[in-house]
């Protein structure tokens, strides 16, 4: 039994590209493979001759006399395959010379891996490589918005057969549908952060224009919709103008949500008007929220907070308000913890007092992800007062950073990463939703970080215990950053952060590996 069965459905590829594809297979530095080609009724004589001339004991060619489409041809190839793992290769694409060798090394290290994907780039007619896609570590929420795994995909043959191979009716997105079904069942999923596949760009191909095949987009939408059904997630899946998928989840119940706001009742000029920040925040919650069942827990510095602020908060929030006095020296983490233990909601939302809610469905948009028990925290898109992005989550590179700080609110980012909900390695505590059981499980915010890095520490604790953090760009909140207090960071906090998480925050970010901390955002140069 060979280690790998490369399967390639063939239908009238440009002969030059097909030849390059074949050469890339024969050039593999790893030898234990077979190549199954299923010709799906090609009419090009050159292609048919080329297939006849392929003379290698490891190559098997099957000819279908009628064109049955890519799904049928791929399934025929799967039926002929005898390898332990199936490697998907399109008839005009290229494998990197060391692709199978590298994959074998990773699979040999962990026998539980059922599915593996690698980074990829594109190749043009002249054989020039461009548009490298540095992919995230396994990121299931992102996969629901875009088939980021795509090429190279290597699947355990036994599991693929168990799931019935490719499904008819998903032409154009049959691989996406397969990946969704495989990853639901895979014991372990691996990502090889190396470009092992070169995707050919020709006029009319999906590689060059995602909108070239509208039927494929509709098939992708259906595939994600059914995937969510299988997981018991009630959601509407729609196609965005950018041709990515957006899942709008519906809540089956309306549990109590506790919104915790630490404050000292400070004032600031916001949008040209002098205002008490906490009053602005609470008013925006009351005015804009469509969710019914919530309480607002204000943890106020006593006696620093003016009495008239407390009185006005009572007037604005009415019965929803709970007031918790805090009588120690400033410690943001302790204030949040006190707010949480004084509240009673199933979910807690930590909200800074220097914020203003923009999206009416913000609570629903944050807590809807908790139907999956491994989601530990969800955060929104945070905008500065002037409308630029304050945070699109955190990423690690030479320390923790805010993703896309200072970028235009509508910036799509590479591969639309700023437009789609996806996993992050951390989120800004200015606004995050957390299930109470998980908040308790990780020990809340660490009092060792009174001012800064409490969110970085909290996110890392979640990561350590295996929880996912999701950034949802469809919920928008303004954050008048550090308006309430001095944004300085104490050396003690820096020391503690490095003592606990130095390697993690200094390493390559698992979800946004191409980001640069130098400009607090996307380093477009480094990815092109």
């Amino acid at each position: 039994m060979p280690r790998f069965s490369i399967i390639t459905p063939v239908f009238d590829p440009p002969i030059k590209a097909f030849d390059a594809c074949a050469r890339s297979v024969f050039r593999q530095s790893y030898s234990d493979w077979e190549w199954i080609l299923v010709d799906d009724g090609s009419t090009d004589r050159e292609v048919l001759d080329y297939l006849r001339r392929l003379d290698d004991p490891r190559v098997r060619v099957r000819t279908r006399h009628q064109n049955g489409g890519i799904v049928e041809a791929s399934n025929d190839a799967l039926n002929l395959a005898s390898g332990e793992f199936i490697v998907l290769l399109d008839h005009d694409d290229l494998l990197a010379n060391n692709a199978l060798k590298r994959v074998d090394e990773v699979l040999s290290e962990n026998p539980r891996i059922d599915y593996l994907y690698s980074d990829e780039d594109k190749v043009d007619d002249e054989g020039r490589f461009f548009d490298p896609f540095r992919k995230p570590a396994w990121s299931p929420e992102r996969l629901r918005s875009q088939n980021y795994c795509c090429h190279l995909s290597v699947i355990r043959a036994e599991l693929m057969r168990e799931l019935g191979g490719f499904r008819t009716g998903y032409d154009g997105s049959q691989d996406f549908d397969l990946i969704l079904r495989i990853t639901e069942r895979a014991q372990e999923i691996a990502h090889v952060p190396e470009i092992l596949y070169h995707w050919r760009v020709v006029p009319g191909s999906t590689a060059g224009d995602a909108g070239a095949k509208p039927y494929a987009i509709e098939a992708a939408r259906r595939a994600v919709s059914e995937h969510l059904d299988r997981l018991g997630i009630d959601a509407d899946v729609t196609v965005t103008p950018d041709l990515y998928l957006k899942s709008t989840r519906r809540l089956s119940r309306c549990p109590l949500v506790s919104i915790i706001i630490p404050t000292c009742g400070s004032r600031k000029r916001v949008w040209g008007r002098e205002a008490v920040l906490v009053e602005t925040a609470v008013a925006s919650i009351i005015q804009r929220s469509t969710y019914e069942n919530y309480e607002i827990v204000i943890v106020y510095d006593d006696p620093l907070t003016p009495d008239d602020v407390i009185d006005r908060l009572r007037h604005i929030a009415g019965d929803r308000l709970r007031l918790v006095p805090y009588r120690k020296s400033f410690n943001f983490s302790e204030k949040c913890n006190l707010g949480v233990v004084s509240s009673s909601g199933e979910y807690v939302v930590l909200l800074n007092d220097d914020t203003s809610i923009q999206s009416p469905g913000w609570i629903e948009g944050l807590i809807c992800y908790f139907v999956e028990p491994d989601v530990g925290m969800v955060g929104p898109k945070l905008l500065l007062e002037d409308g630029r992005i304050q945070s699109a989550g955190h990423f690690n590179k030479e320390g923790p950073n805010n993703v896309a700080f200072g970028h235009h609110a509508d910036d799509r980012g590479p591969f639309s990463v700023l437009q789609i909900a996806a996993e992050r390695s951390g989120l800004t505590m200015a606004c995050t939703a957390i299930p109470r059981r998980i908040y308790n499980h990780v020990g809340g915010l660490s009092p060792e970080y009174p001012r800064a890095f409490n969110d970085v520490d909290f996110g890392n604790k979640l990561w350590l215990l295996g929880y996912r953090m999701i950034w949802n760009p469809h919920v928008v909140i303004h954050h008048f950053e550090s308006a309430t207090r001095n944004p300085s960071v104490s050396p003690k906090e820096i020391h503690r952060m490095w003592e606990r998480w130095g390697y993690m925050v200094n390493g390559r970010d698992p979800f946004l590996p191409w980001f640069s901390s130098a400009i607090h955002g996307i380093d477009h140069d480094s990815i092109s």
Binding site: N337, V341, G443, E448, R500, Y503
Partner: protein
């Protein structure tokens, strides 16, 4: 003698060696019978002196905060341990790399010495002095070969 005077607590009651209020197990030992009888824990009027109690605490809230803090400490300790391990691995790796680097450097030095020696030998063989010397000594070599009976090819 003062030594014979019994120890007394802050209320003046006699304290025996086996019920020292500073012993952390003392309080638990006092409470055990109540647990055993499934009775509610009653207040204990003699407290170990090292236990500090806040006056205005809210029992449940305080305990919840303490649990959070302790969990944070446990996870923080795990993280620190991971950091130390990672740093240790890093150091060991860098040490291994350093050794590898040194052996490569040594290897390179030996190679360089060999190449240098070869070059010098080549230069000697190509020098006029060497060629002249060989020419001068050629008859002597021929005589020696004839005397020893060896041919040039043997």
């Amino acid at each position: 003698m003062a030594r014979d005077e019994p120890d007394r607590d802050n209320r003046g009651a006699e304290v025996r060696d086996d019920d020292n209020p500073n012993d952390p197990f003392y309080l638990a030992a006092l409470r055990l019978p109540y647990y055993a009888n499934n009775n509610p824990v009653v207040s204990v009027d003699r407290r170990p002196q090292h236990v500090q109690v806040e006056e205005d605490w809210n029992d449940i809230g305080f305990l919840q905060l303490e649990i959070l803090r302790l969990r944070d400490e446990v996870i923080g300790a795990l993280a620190r341990e991971g950091e130390v391990r990672a740093r240790l691995d890093g150091l060991l790796n860098s040490e291994a790399r350093w050794e590898e680097h040194n052996s490569i450097k040594n290897h390179k030095a030996v190679l360089a010495q060999k190449e240098d020696a070869e070059a010098r030998l080549e230069a000697v063989l190509r020098s006029r002095t060497w060629k002249l010397g060989r020419a001068l000594f050629a008859p002597i070599r021929l005589v020696r070969r004839a005397l020893t009976g060896r041919s040039r090819d043997s």
